[in-house]
């Protein structure tokens, strides 16, 4: 049962999917034996004729969806991110991205949230994989409400899209009224004279806000950007913020290599180079443990963000 007080990102996806299904009869949902844990059971109960169970067959999951999309359907495929897009890169590349059909690839349990299951089930490479594919849109919602909005919007965008869902319950960051548009980053915390920009996505947005609040107490003002769309990234907001602050810290529940932070660095190195510190997994595999233990191990807590902000400030001031 959904905890009304503190609802998870995947619950937001599952609830919104039912609304999307009600509004648009072309929406179909496919899963690879993970109906319940990817929260598509709600859709399956309401629209059994538009729900497809393919079995533990992720390659079929995305290729069948490609065929349906070629016939005008808007298929949402769900699995764990390690399996899809992890296992299904080739199929996604050829039959979805290159075909340019509007399949919505939903990767659940992304990041370290699969904790005790171990590194085999912790998808830490999926942002990198998906953001390099031409035509692909990549969205990483930060909480329940944002997952709802993202689900509804990508159902209408007519493009191949990857929706990355964390498993763990994130802190609540947005409300039903918070603005959301794919491709537009939101500045969640602003100050008169910010010294550092903290760019985050997914559950790291909450950590970034906690860090910013603590930093304000010691008179380090920051700007916190919720960069939920990894691709196409909101270049204007990122560049403007780098110009205002002169230093950036990026935060993601993903490998540092090739992820959201890399995308930010690519934009800034071309347009307005500033010192950047990266929070994320440092090109190692995870291991079994509670997600919060893993976040500590990989220096991805709000405390680590505070340290990174101080480091980047030193670099900025020594230039």
């Amino acid at each position: 049962m959904i905890n009304k007080k503190f609802r998870s990102i995947r619950d937001g996806f599952g609830e919104a999917l039912v609304e999307v299904g009600e509004k648009n009869k072309d929406v179909v949902v496919l899963t690879a034996d993970l109906k319940e844990s990817t929260r598509v059971n709600l859709f399956a109960e309401k629209f059994p004729e538009r729900f497809i169970e393919v079995g533990v067959a992720e390659q079929a999951l995305v290729t069948i969806a490609s065929g349906m999309a070629a016939e005008g359907k808007i298929p949402f495929t769900t699995s764990y991110a390690v399996f899809s897009p992890g296992r299904t890169l080739d199929q996604i590349r050829t039959t979805i991205a290159l075909n340019n059909v509007p399949v919505k690839i939903v990767g659940a349990h992304a990041g370290l949230g699969a904790g005790p299951y171990g590194s085999t089930h912790q998808a830490l490479e999926d942002i990198t994989i998906m953001r390099t594919l031409p035509n692909m849109v990549v969205v990483v919602p930060c909480d329940f409400e944002e997952a709802k909005k993202a689900t509804k919007e990508i159902a209408k965008n007519k493009k191949p899209t990857y929706l990355r869902l964390a498993r763990q319950e994130s802190g609540r960051v947005t409300t039903p009224n918070s603005p959301f548009k794919v491709g537009r980053a939101e500045i969640l915390r602003q100050s008169k004279n910010p010294q550092v920009a903290i760019v985050a996505c997914g559950v790291m947005v909450y950590e970034a806000l906690v860090a910013a609040k603590e930093l304000a107490k010691i008179e380090i003002e920051t700007e916190v950007i919720n960069c939920h769309t990894i691709k196409p990234m909101d270049e204007r907001t990122i560049i403007r913020s780098a110009k205002t602050t002169g230093a950036v810290v990026t935060c993601e529940e993903h490998q540092i290599d090739g992820g959201m932070g890399s995308a930010v660095a690519e934009i800034l190195s071309r347009n307005f180079p500033v010192p950047i510190e990266f929070i994320g997994v440092p090109n190692v595999f995870g291991e079994s443990g509670k997600p919060e233990e893993l976040f500590k191990k990989f220096k991805m807590t709000s405390k680590d963000i505070i340290k990174a902000v101080k480091r980047v400030l030193l670099r900025k001031n020594s230039v």
């Binding site: 004729e49 067959a57 079929a60 290729t63 065929g67 349906m68 016939e71 359907k73 050829t94």
Partner: protein, 266 residues
Amino acid sequence: MEDLKKIAKEVRRDIVKTLLEAGSGHPAGSLSMTDILVALYFGIMHHDPKNPNWKDRDRLVVSNGHTCPALYSVLARSGYFPIQKLKTYAKLGSPLQGHPEREKLLGIETTSGPLGCGLAQACGMAWAARLDNSHFRVFCTVSDAEHDEGNHWEGVLFAAKYKLSNLTLIVDRNNIQIEGHTEDTMPLEPLKEKYIAFNWNVLDIDGHNIAAIINAVNEARKVDDRPTVIIVHTIAGKGVSFMEDKSEWHAKVLNKEEAKLALSEL
């Protein structure tokens, strides 16, 4: 039927000329697929070259995309584009890519090349057709060596589960792949019995008999409780004596003398 045989002959000549011009491509599979594609486009499928996106057209997924020199020739001879365009195959800027792309050429239902992905896409199309109460049929061609791919068998399971009787799979059973004969590289036999065990309707026919291919597809139309696979026994490199049943011609480039000799036999 004599007309279709004549077309098949022209298509085989096109393949040789196209591959010589390109200096690239897959002759053996293109030649073994020729009669299947001629049967589909000239004797089986409902389609309109002047309106390639016609809603009620039959769909064809060519999972074995490397055989596209044959597909391009058949499309051209059906009227999708001028035959002279075959000369541009695999050249920069051409809509006739080395492997077929849906976004580049009207008439191509889906991009293919990486093997084993076509059947599952055809399943998606057939499932969608049923949901929409559409009456078009979905055809899918696969090579025999594609049966090495897990993705293909996932599609085989799915089509049986959802009893996709509007789907017809055509296997180009030419017995070769890059490294050699299929039964040496990765044995597939008994292939017919495998499909029977997976709850498919199975037909087994001579692949270089266009009438037999058309008849088999008509037989498949009568079955309404499961998908049909037609295992079409073909000869790799069919029509060119020095290529027939030779795996080294899977992707070998023809030189001028070889092309001349091949054309003299066709």
